[in-house]
């Protein structure tokens, strides 16, 4: 009997900190533990007793990479509960801000976090030494996303202007005017980005899986809509907690998301969104999908990177559309009168569906909070992917096996900081 043990003590190029422990006996996985040792930060606990107006600033701090997602899920939820009507311009400005976050985050993942794996570099800094033009172009697109967030939100990490009811201040059309040219320039690079991504030697791992995401009748689901799945079911966001279920695994303190009725894990993120929203894609995004060989029905999780590139093109095109006839919402925010009840909402963070629920007292004080981040929903799938993937690569030396396992994990662009604000994961089976 041969024993083999592979340890990845710190998974690199992901947001937050995790480890993978793998034990193999003969050709069988004896033990596989995706350990998230990042400590919990108890947001759901200390949100209680705070006023709803403070929530967008608080929940932004769950994640430095996707603060807009956290702000938006909370703001929309409160506005629905309090029956607040915002002007169309507010809706558009929110989408524009959110697209800035998608552009930033997707570019970061494709070029700085994922690409070094395939090109044999430790990081983008090494990559920049031998591929300076590529890295320079990527950084320019990333900066564009950041600059959009800064112009609308005041800063790209933990924006300050979004509030329940609108924005504390909305940029003028002139202040956003300079972005049209930069977005056009970025868009011109996108077929090249798709060709670059198409050239990366991705592993193949097709499998049956239900993918879940936000769907909207008129647009690619980001800020608002109902839930849809690739198995053809639809349900309102208010039914999220009944339709999905956080399962407690034996010998583990992990909560794993599964569909309540089938008991099977699902996954959220760019590939899910692509499969559910393809009909709303724009011309360059479609072209990118074609270059990448991505078509509706694709269930190989390794196509997530392709879907991210397609969404990057879409984000730029949709931002251009929104900018074309942008007029600042006037007034920038409307008055909000709280009332007692339950607020539920989901938006699409760059890495997938982010669900929030708040129980609110009459004076606007938070009584209970529940947050289900995308990475927590994907953890079970990541583990299943590892179990499916590892047997095919057991002939590789330890170092390469470890690197391949990291690729499987990184493919979901996991945000461990988000996932662990409420859970701590220690998978032990065998």
């Amino acid at each position: 009997m041969t024993h083999r043990s592979v340890e990845i003590p710190v998974i690199a190029r992901v947001e937050g900190e995790g480890a993978l422990h793998l034990k193999v006996e003969d050709d069988r996985i004896e033990d596989l533990r995706l350990e998230i040792y990042e400590p919990p930060r108890f947001f759901e606990s200390f949100l209680r007793g705070r006023h709803f107006t403070e929530v967008p600033d608080i929940v932004a701090r769950i994640c430095g990479i996707c603060p807009v997602a956290y702000q938006m899920s909370s703001i929309h939820g409160f506005e629905e509960l309090f029956e607040v009507e915002v002007p169309e311009g507010t809706r558009e400005l929110r989408r524009l801000l959110y697209l800035g976050e998608w552009i930033e985050s997707h570019t970061l993942h494709i070029f700085l976090l994922a690409a070094p794996d395939f090109l044999g570099f430790h990081d983008a800094i090494e990559m920049a030494a031998s591929e300076p033009e590529l890295v320079k172009k990527a950084l320019a697109i990333k900066r564009l996303g950041n600059d959009m967030m800064e112009a609308i939100g005041g800063r790209e990490i933990h924006p300050v202007s979004p509030r329940v009811g609108g924005f504390s201040k909305a940029p003028t059309a002139r202040e956003l005017g300079g972005f049209a040219g930069r977005l056009e320039d970025a868009l011109a690079e996108l077929p090249g980005v798709a060709e670059f991504a198409a050239g990366l030697p991705l592993p193949v791992l097709p499998r049956e899986v239900e993918m879940v995401g936000l769907v909207h009748p008129n647009e690619y689901g980001i800020n608002e809509g109902g839930m849809g799945t690739t198995a053809g079911r639809t349900f309102p966001v208010a039914a999220f907690e009944e339709t999905t279920h956080e399962e407690h695994v034996e010998h583990s303190n992990a909560l794993h998301s599964v569909m309540t009725d089938t008991g099977l894990p699902y996954f959220v993120g760019p590939l899910a969104r692509y499969n559910l929203n393809e009909a709303h894609l724009t011309p360059v995004a479609r072209k990118a999908a074609e270059i990448l060989g991505l078509a509706v029905g694709q269930n190989d999780p390794f196509y997530s990177l392709a879907a991210r590139a397609v969404e990057l093109a879409y984000s730029i095109e949709d931002a251009l559309r929104l900018l074309r006839d942008y007029e600042p919402p006037d007034p920038p925010f409307v008055d909000v009168v709280p009332r007692a009840g339950r607020a539920t909402w989901a938006t699409e963070a760059p890495r997938g569906t982010l669900y929030h629920r708040y129980d609110v007292a009459e004076d606007g004080t938070i009584l209970e909070a529940k947050i289900v981040p995308p990475t927590a929903q994907n953890l079970r799938r990541i583990e299943e992917d590892l179990r499916g993937f590892i047997p095919g690569v057991l002939d590789r030396p330890d170092e390469e096996l470890a690197r391949l396992c990291e690729m499987v994990i990184r493919n979901y662009d996991p945000c461990i900081s988000c996932a662990t604000h409420f859970l701590r994961l220690d998978i032990q089976r065998g």
Partner: protein, 261 residues
């Protein structure tokens, strides 16, 4: 000449402060020519063991194993710089301090017995010697790059200690406290952000922590005069950097006032 070895470490945090370094983009590439990035897990899979010339530490100390990890970092590093509100004051997660930890754990975990957490979320300087603290939620990118380059030149970085209020006047922003009744922490918060909140027509909420000798009591008086209850005024201070001593003390005082009324 060997390049100084710089490492980036993370405790309990949102990753936002180290993201400021990644978001420096081309400046980071330039910096990478002057230093050796020896350990930066979020950006690179090349993780070298110590010793390091400079360690940047993000995040607060909120789990037992982090104390050991931190002591090892301190031992292996010439200079230890803390970055951000979590590392310098305990962060927003310090809002749970003083509460019932078991209750907090029970509220989010079905099996509380598995969760290892300290009673409190505390700043790095409560546990080891810190050579320089950069506050902010997130830190300011310019301040970070400046501090690193000054350290590389062998000088001690000088950080602004004046309040946001002064910055606002310098930039000619309309006072949101006076004109909009916005409870603004600008008079008592260290500048560094560029007075973003007043620029966006809202009150400062204290991301950079207390300025030098802040007159918090006078500001509370103004909040109360603007119609805030003592509890509402308390929550202005008990927020992003609520455990920083300058703000914690005022929050406690207002809490007593709130209890009395």
């Amino acid at each position: 000449m060997t390049r100084p070895r710089v490492a980036v470490f993370k405790m309990a945090s949102c990753d936002g402060c180290q993201l400021q370094l990644i978001d420096a983009e081309e400046a980071l590439l330039d910096l990478a020519g002057a230093i050796e990035i020896a350990n930066f897990a979020e950006a690179s899979s090349n993780m070298q063991p110590g010793p390091y010339d400079v360690a940047l530490v993000e995040g607060s100390i909120s789990a037992p194993e982090q104390i050991e990890q931190l002591e090892k970092i301190r031992e292996e590093s010439g200079l230890l710089i803390t970055i951000g509100a979590c590392a310098t004051s305990g962060g927003i997660q310090a809002l749970r301090n003083g509460g019932d930890l078991d209750e907090a754990i029970r509220r989010v975990y079905p099996h509380p017995e598995f969760v290892k957490s300290l009673e409190t979320s505390t700043p790095v300087a409560d546990h080891v010697k810190v050579d320089l603290e950069l506050t902010g939620c997130p830190i300011d990118r310019g301040e970070l790059l400046n501090a690193i380059s000054q350290l590389l030149q062998g000088s001690v970085p000088r950080l602004a200690t004046t309040p946001v209020c002064i910055e606002c006047k310098r930039r000619g922003y309309t006072c949101v406290l006076v004109t909009r009744d916005e409870p603004c922490l600008g008079p008592v918060t260290r500048t560094g952000c560029g007075a973003i909140c007043p620029a966006f027509a809202r009150g400062c909420y204290g991301c950079f922590g207390p300025s030098e000798s802040p007159n918090t009591e006078a500001l509370s008086g103004a909040f109360l005069a603007h119609g805030l209850s003592p509890a509402q005024a308390r929550d202005r201070f008990r927020f992003i950097t609520g455990s920083a001593p300058g703000f914690a003390k005022e929050a406690e005082r207002l809490d007593k006032e709130a209890m009395a009324t």
